[in-house]
């Protein structure tokens, strides 16, 4: 079962990567979350036909990727996984936006520009979010979200989902393998598939009951408390936030790509 296997592996990979010890990993999760949200905000705030102004923004995910020592293929593979959904949205732009613009002497439909802009924005924001996840970890991100005022109900659901998704996948995989071993090469029928799903549902219910019992045994009364930590942001955290946010602001208001192009053109001539 390649899909379940790879899903398990990918989930584990994210957890493994988040246990890194680089200075990016050691930054307070709030710092990375806030800076990434600001980054996404600035990227998303560009006009629909902006392309050159977006390109310098690549410096943020590239910087994090390099300094957190994360594998490039981790980001690329996941971007490819999500790309079809974005492509599906963007692909209609050239058909809808039929006005033409002239770029470098070539006449081009405006839709092509907006489509490219959407794709660039997707690459920038999704890669930043993926790097944030891989250099921080879901539990720490949930804590940071809580500290930013996101309701505990939401973050708890996310945490439990993350915790038990692995367990569910492992169980699903073992049920599927057990069936596969006795199918002797025959295709999985609808009836067998339905039985597998029913098995998984029953197991999930039983496990949920056992988890609840274990919680009750430790005096659970409806609230899931977590210890409050009063960790303050360090100078490094503040430098990271201020430095990057200033750069985003600068890149938002000055088209660095055009300036750089003009500079190179001047040097060349």
């Amino acid at each position: 079962m390649v899909t379940l296997d790879s899903a398990l592996w990918q989930l584990n990979q994210s957890n493994r990567l988040a246990e890194g010890t680089t200075w990016v990993h050691r930054l307070d999760p709030r710092t990375k979350l806030f800076t990434t949200l600001v980054f996404i905000l600035f990227v998303a705030s560009h006009g629909p036909l902006q392309i050159s102004a977006l390109i310098p923004f690549i410096v943020y995910p590239a910087f994090l990727l390099f300094n957190a020592e994360l594998p490039l293929d981790y980001v690329i593979k996941r971007l490819f996984f999500a790309a079809p959904f974005v492509l599906f949205i963007a692909v209609f732009n050239p058909l809808i936006e039929t006005q033409t613009v002239i770029i470098a002497g070539y006449e081009l439909r405006q839709g092509w520009l907006s489509m490219s802009s959407i794709l660039i924005r997707f690459v920038l924001t999704a890669s930043a979010a993926l790097i944030l996840l891989a250099s921080t970890g879901i539990p720490q991100l949930c804590t940071a979200l809580n500290q930013f005022g996101v309701p505990q109900l939401f973050t708890r659901q996310l945490l439990l989902l993350h915790r038990y998704l692995l367990v569910l996948l492992t169980e699903g995989l073992s049920v599927y393998r057990a069936t596969q071993l006795r199918r002797y090469g025959k295709r999985l029928t609808l009836a067998t598939g339905a039985n597998l799903l029913a098995q998984l549902l029953l197991r999930t219910t039983t496990r949920a009951n056992r988890i609840h019992n274990a919680m009750l045994s430790r005096s659970f009364s409806g609230e899931i408390p977590t210890p409050e930590t009063n960790a303050k942001l360090t100078k490094q955290d503040w430098s990271f936030i201020v430095g990057w946010c200033s750069l985003f602001f600068l890149m938002r208001h000055i088209n660095l790509a055009i300036y750089l192009g003009q500079l190179l053109e001047g040097l060349w001539s």
């Binding site: 915790r163 988890i211 430790r218």
Partner: protein, 238 residues
């Protein structure tokens, strides 16, 4: 001093299966008792009665002189620390330290106090270095230790362990037995592991089809003569 007093309890599941039949059992403070029996003998059902996860259809239970009822349930759950068979059922928080803090925080400790007792408990079971690790990134042996720490952090009087060594490799199993030896709580351990029963428990109870069929010194119970001669224990049930 009597810490566990089970008087003639019976339990029948909703589908009509009788799981416990007139079970009586007294355990003194500091005693370590192994509960052995075949699958389905009623070991886990019996343990689940101790902290009120199941309510007996007949009979009474006293834990440290408190009668088990809705009014005393919170106190009894503080007195009894239960380690479940599958640590994945128990470790549901994002990381080990948060999980171990879960019990103390529920008992009303402040964050600082909870963190302090949690770190002490993790240190006691030798996994303090794993405090920030997500449960899914722990080995089975490590999970088991963190689960025990989660219970120790609530300072229970009685430790109840449901098949603590199941699924562990021999090395992790030996480590766990050595760890449990160091704990001086009153212990009730449901197990199929005779070595564990022999090493940790001076007293053993044999359950068969929801009834106690033997109760005595482990050294006497775990002999071939006893196991072979007991008509209520088919040779393949243990």
């Amino acid at each position: 001093m009597l810490t566990v007093d089970i008087d003639n309890i019976s339990y029948t599941y909703a589908d009509g299966t009788s799981a416990l039949d007139a079970v009586s059992l007294q355990v003194n403070a500091g005693e370590s008792v192994a509960i052995i029996g075949a699958n389905g003998a009623g070991k886990s059902t019996l343990l689940h009665h101790l902290n009120g996860l199941l309510t007996p259809t007949a009979g009474r239970i006293h834990i440290c002189t408190h009668p088990l009822n809705n009014k005393t349930l919170a106190e009894i759950r503080r007195l009894i620390g239960m380690v479940f068979q599958n640590p994945d059922d128990q470790l549901f928080m994002a990381n080990a330290i948060d999980d171990v803090c879960f019990g103390p925080l529920n008992l009303g400790l402040t964050s600082q106090q909870a963190l302090k007792v949690a770190r002490r408990a993790l240190d006691q079971v030798g996994v303090l270095n794993l405090q920030d690790r997500a449960p899914c990134r722990l080995s089975d042996g490590e999970k088991r230790r963190v689960a025990i720490a989660g219970v120790l952090a609530t300072s229970p009087e009685i430790l109840v362990l449901d098949e603590p060594t199941s699924g562990l490799d021999p090395w992790a199993r030996r480590q766990l037995i050595d760890l449990l030896k160091k704990l001086d709580h009153t212990r009730l351990i449901a197990t199929h592991d005779f070595d564990l029963a022999h090493d940790l428990c001076e007293r053993t109870i044999v359950l068969c089809e929801g009834k106690i069929i033997a109760d005595g010194l482990t050294a006497n119970i775990l002999t071939n003569d006893f196991l072979d001669s007991s008509p209520a224990i088919p040779a393949n049930t243990l």
